[in-house]
């Protein structure tokens, strides 16, 4: 049976696509989900996934420009974190190709592992994108909160 999620808390931040904000995005999410008392491993997984999504918006979405990135983090009952990272950049022409491990348009500085890492470190990954319009990445992860351990 599908789990029904209800929203308990949320925040949204908007910041320009400057690489200094990668660390800020990770720290903001970590501070917010502390409410769910995640384990160190869970915190590491979520911080990694956020870093991948935000870096993609900076590096690929706004390749030659600075634009706004919006990040929304929701705490859902039961014990789930949902993160949406959205840009209004160049978009992805072929999403299933982009999701393949090692696929990259980023050259030697990139390894084509970002989506693979988001997928394996989180429980679910949904990508919506349209060329010329932008990309939004939605990820969820259920946390094994300490209350139940």
């Amino acid at each position: 049976m599908a789990v029904k999620y209800t929203e308990v808390n949320r925040f949204t931040v908007k910041f320009p696509s400057k690489s200094a904000n990668e660390g800020f995005a990770r720290a903001a999410v970590a501070a917010f989900i502390a409410q769910l008392d995640p384990t160190l491993d869970e915190l590491g997984d979520v911080r990694t996934a956020v870093s991948e999504a935000v870096t993609n918006a900076i590096v690929h979405g706004y390749k030659d420009a600075i634009g706004d990135i919006t990040m929304t983090v929701k705490l859902l009952e039961p014990d789930t974190v949902e993160i949406v990272v959205a840009d209004r950049g160049c978009g992805i022409p072929d999403i299933s190709r982009a999701r393949e491990p090692l696929f990259t348009t980023g050259g030697a500085e990139r390894s084509g592992m970002g989506f693979t890492i988001m997928e394996s470190f989180m429980d679910s990954l949904r990508i919506r994108s349209a060329p010329g319009k932008g990309t939004s990445v939605t990820m969820r992860k259920r946390l094994n909160t300490r209350r139940y351990r």
Binding site: D41, G44, S51, T55, A108, I117, S120
Partner: protein, 106 residues
């Protein structure tokens, strides 16, 4: 990141300190390559005990450093990798390409 380093007995130990991401990755890789280029040590050990976090940007850094070091005919190993970075490197299969050592005390 801060790149600490020591050269002892033909081993250059590189010890980056802090979180590794796209913001600092290429600059850090450049600085580490430069140290290798200047010292030309027979062995390079990348000691990651002071790096609590990396994202996929670290994959390209490790591979870039590995190629530089082995390109000079020197040996390259990684030591004291913490759990989160190790999970990222394993996701990319780096544990099958590079030599990861544990508990190297220097």
């Amino acid at each position: 990141m801060k790149i600490n380093y020591t050269l002892t007995g033909g081993i250059l130990i590189l010890k980056p300190e802090g979180e590794l991401d796209h913001h600092c990755a290429m600059e850090d890789l450049g600085r580490m390559k430069e140290l290798v280029d200047v010292m030309l040590p027979p062995n390079v050990l990348l000691d990651l005990r002071d790096m609590p976090f990396t994202d996929s940007s670290g994959i390209a850094v490790l591979m870039g450093l590995y190629r530089t070091v082995t390109g000079f005919g020197s040996r390259f190993a990684v030591a004291n990798t913490r759990p989160q970075p190790m999970k990222v490197f394993k996701a990319a299969g780096l544990d099958r390409i590079l030599s990861f050592k544990e508990e190297v005390h220097i």
